[in-house]
Amino acid sequence: MAYEAVIGLECHIQLATRTKMFCGCPAEFGAAPNSNVCPTCLGLPGALPRTNRAAVDAALRLGLAVGCELRPVSEFARKNYFYPDMPKNYQITQYDRPLCEGGALPVALEGGARRFGLIRIHVEEDTGKSFHPERHGDRPVSRVDFNRAGVPLLELVSRPDFRAPAECAAFLTALRRLVRWLGISDADMEKGHLRCDANVSLRPLGQEAFGTKTEIKNLNSIKGVEKGLHAEIARQRALLESGGRIEQSTLLYDADHDRLAVMRSKEYAHDYRYFPDPDLPLLVVEETWIEDARGALPELPWAREARFATQYGLPGYDAAVLTETRELADYYEDLARGLDGKLASNWVMTEVLRAVKEESLTLAAWSAKVPAGRLRGLLAKVAARELPGPLAKQVFAWMRDEDGTVDELLERHGVRAQGSVAELEPLVVAVIEAHPGPVAQYLAGKTATLGFLVGQVMKRSGGQAVPQVVRELLEAELARRSGS
């Protein structure tokens, strides 16, 4: 029998706010263990929570971006269960009156874009982190770091609209781009800024009713989500095909061994005894707050991607790459002003991204070094055919290390850019014709002789030419001759 997988995702997004959800402690990552703590996030007797408006604001922005309905009055609730990394033994979260409901995230898939529906997005606090077991003399010990306790999280629950693991991976990629775009999270899955649990069930193709679902936890990367889901779908299919029954349970995915282990079965399901948190008043989000959040919303990535394609005449691939981050899209748009869009796109996608990667820079650091306006000066000359491609690339290389406009760089390096190709080309032809021997050797495969020819052209240019440009012009001319 053919089966169809039905998958729903539950994502946790750690917000990049300055302070924690319910106290003033820094929410930063990487401080010494238990240094970013206070009576409130340690759950000391008598301490009380107070709501961080910046976290609510982040939730509003995400909710608005994906078209959620925003609840003007939502409610914090306590989720009660015992665990050592949870200081109060309850988590402050939202339950039956979440801040955001509905909405959908547009996701680019191979067959075109699709919108995956959402059930809700709500605000909650993170737990601390356990480290165990460690040894203390001859006893195993567990340690807990509460720096993360109380850091704000958004929980986003999707509709069970996914039918394949690849769709889930694409969804997470789109979600990661969006929350980074909105500046609300670093969304690094490996660092736990973005966490994802998946609910999976199988049903015979054509059947309406859902099968019994399992929940998979510990999916620590987008690849891991895809692999873990494949493993679980295969497990469920094998079980069903051998006449077995799926048991409702929670499974842990072990990415290193591509294995699933049962964490708890249904009989041990928690009763979280949710109830409204009496320490926090209802969360009232006034219309003006929503309007401010809406006003502060940037053009959204998918809208900008579509606009790039039409406004700059870019292929879909280019538009997608250029809108990977807001900084890159901004850089591109700044660069493309007054230029051919595709020319600017080519330069960003090849030269700029390569340079950024080579130097391990953030785009912000790159922009400080080579602002878009500076690069635009170079591309304008390329577009006006004032600089040959190779020379332009040389100038770009200088730009990475030196200050100055294109003209200043050319002058500093003793290159007269004006008509340089037109001036060099006769020299190249003359050198080739003056040295038939080395040319024949080169054409016979002894490419080392190219250096000699380059030297000859340099000599005739009075040392004004750029070796790289000369080399490429020679190669082009020689190739033309060997081909003819």
Partner: protein, 489 residues
């Protein structure tokens, strides 16, 4: 008055002398310890943590409460004393921060002179459920001081200090105040910060004040009330001005829901009520008689809401981070169960179980939600009552102070002793117990007055009239009538 007699002074008179340099701070702070504590404390046992060095550390000479000694209930966080909620599970726990009410007291010049005994985690009405043993009533050492704030109430009554802080979740300030013959105020919910008050029932808990004189109550209220950014449930805006507490009651009306004490209330308690009402009428107030049933289900609603919240609030006491931890725990589950089974006393365990049950899947709607609906109705009934009068009069407790051990085996009887006090907590309104004399057997008689939200000024005006027998002009400085001190029996 000589320094050794300073313990008899009101807080405001004491502070005035400290500010004026007539009384050394040390003599003010130590007055109760050098005086009546010697006679009383060994038997009453109102104090669970005392520390002469901590008392000596602060020497304030300024502020409305300069040099005034204050006993603080053991569930309110103090950096200079342990805060254990009279529970084994918090044995030795010393908070790294002061509760907001404590820092405000200190800012006003007061000095914390120790921590007061209580029922464990404020769960009880007799101060018998304490890991330190019971506190006794100074008016009769065989009787309970009421609870759960029995220690602070008894200490103010016998003269250790003119002011004390308690907490009131269902009457835990007003009932012991009534049993010990002192004033006990539970403010409007949200008027005093709960930051640093170890939570029992968060939506019901309020810090309250014990005092012997209305003027002291007003001074302490002014020092403590007001919004706190650390407690999101504090009321926004300025607290009501209580400085007009000597304005008298002319033109005020009080509700007289006599149907409430037609049965089940000690006749002497009713007699005290009648006498207080007559005194108020003689001073110009009007009695408005009507039947009032503040939610027939208030006891049930209260014990569901309070225990549900408590079951969650007390989850943090697990032996992992602070307080008592059972030494012999092979795994996490054993650590939790053994620590909590041995760390919590029987009444606390009973309430955690009750509350856990009330919140459980399948029972939540029937219990917790129904209780919340009842609570909304109770609030509306009080609101309707205050449309007909400025404040309500009723007993603080249905009985006079009972004997130690009398109700400890019967939790339900103990719960029913809260019947007149829990309404104010469910409705979030202020309540004040005022002593009105002694019974034939020499036990304190008291009345309770309830006001609408932010009705504290009216309650204090009525209390002043009762304190002064109508002559409120006397309630200042040296003219203040001497408190009716207990004699040792």
């Amino acid at each position: 008055m000589s320094a050794p007699e300073a313990w008899r002074l009101s807080a405001t008179a004491l502070a005035a002398r400290v500010r004026g340099g007539e009384l050394a701070v040390d003599d003010a702070v130590e007055a109760g310890w050098r005086g009546p504590a010697g006679t009383w404390e060994a038997e009453v046992r109102a104090v669970v943590h005392a520390d002469p060095a901590a008392r000596a550390a602060a020497r304030p000479r300024e502020g409305p409460l300069a040099g005034v000694p204050v006993l603080v209930k053991d569930n309110i966080c103090t950096t200079d004393y342990p805060t254990t909620c009279a529970s084994r599970i918090l044995a030795g726990y010393r908070p790294p921060y002061d509760a907001t009410v404590v820092s405000r007291l200190r800012a006003a010049g007061a000095v914390v002179v120790g921590k007061g005994n209580m029922d464990e985690f404020a769960m009880g009405s007799s101060t018998e459920y304490s890991c330190y043993g019971p506190t006794r009533n100074p008016y009769d050492l065989d009787r309970v001081p009421g609870g759960s704030s029995g220690g602070p109430a008894a200490a103010v009554a016998y003269g250790l200090c003119p002011l004390a802080l308690g907490s009131d979740t269902g009457g835990s300030v007003r009932q012991p105040a009534a049993f010990c013959g002192v004033l006990g105020l539970k403010p409007t919910y949200g008027r005093f910060s709960r930051y640093g008050l170890v939570a029992f029932g968060s939506s019901l808990d309020q810090v309250g004040i014990f005092a012997r004189h209305t003027g002291d109550l007003a001074a302490a209220y002014a020092a403590l009330a007001g919004p706190d950014p650390l407690d999101a449930t504090t009321r926004p805006g300025e607290a009501p001005d209580v400085s007009g507490w000597r304005a008298g009651v002319t033109g005020l009306s009080f509700g007289w829901p006599a149907n409430l004490w037609r049965e089940g209330v000690d006749p002497e308690v009713v007699g005290g009520l009648e006498e207080a009402a007559a005194r108020l009428e003689r001073s110009g107030a009007t009695r408005v008689t009507f039947d009032f049933l503040p939610g027939e289900y208030s006891v049930a609603a209260y014990y569901l809401v309070a225990t549900a919240e408590a079951s969650s609030n007390l989850a943090r006491f697990d032996g992992v981070r602070y307080g008592f931890r059972h030494a012999d725990s092979a795994d996490l589950r054993a650590l939790y169960t053994r620590t909590r089974s041995e760390g919590f006393g029987p009444e606390v365990q009973r309430r955690i179980l009750l509350g856990t049950y009330a919140l459980s899947a399948g029972y939540y709607d029937a219990y917790y939600l129904t209780a919340q609906r009842a609570r909304t109705r109770i609030r509306e009934e009080y609101r309707a009552a205050f449309a007909r009068c400025d404040f309500l009069m009723m007993p603080a407790a249905p009985s006079l102070p009972f004997r130690l051990g009398e109700k400890i085996e019967d939790p339900l009887a103990m719960y029913l002793s809260d019947i007149f006090t829990i309404g104010a907590n469910l409705a979030g309104i202020p309540g004040l117990s005022v002593p009105v004399g002694l019974s034939r057997a020499g036990l304190p008689l008291a009345v309770q007055m309830l006001g609408p939200e932010d009705g504290e000024p009216v309650l204090l005006r009525a209390a002043a009239v009762l304190e002064a027998g109508g002559e409120v002009a006397r309630l200042e400085g040296e003219d203040t009538p001497e408190f009716a001190w207990p004699t040792k029996r």
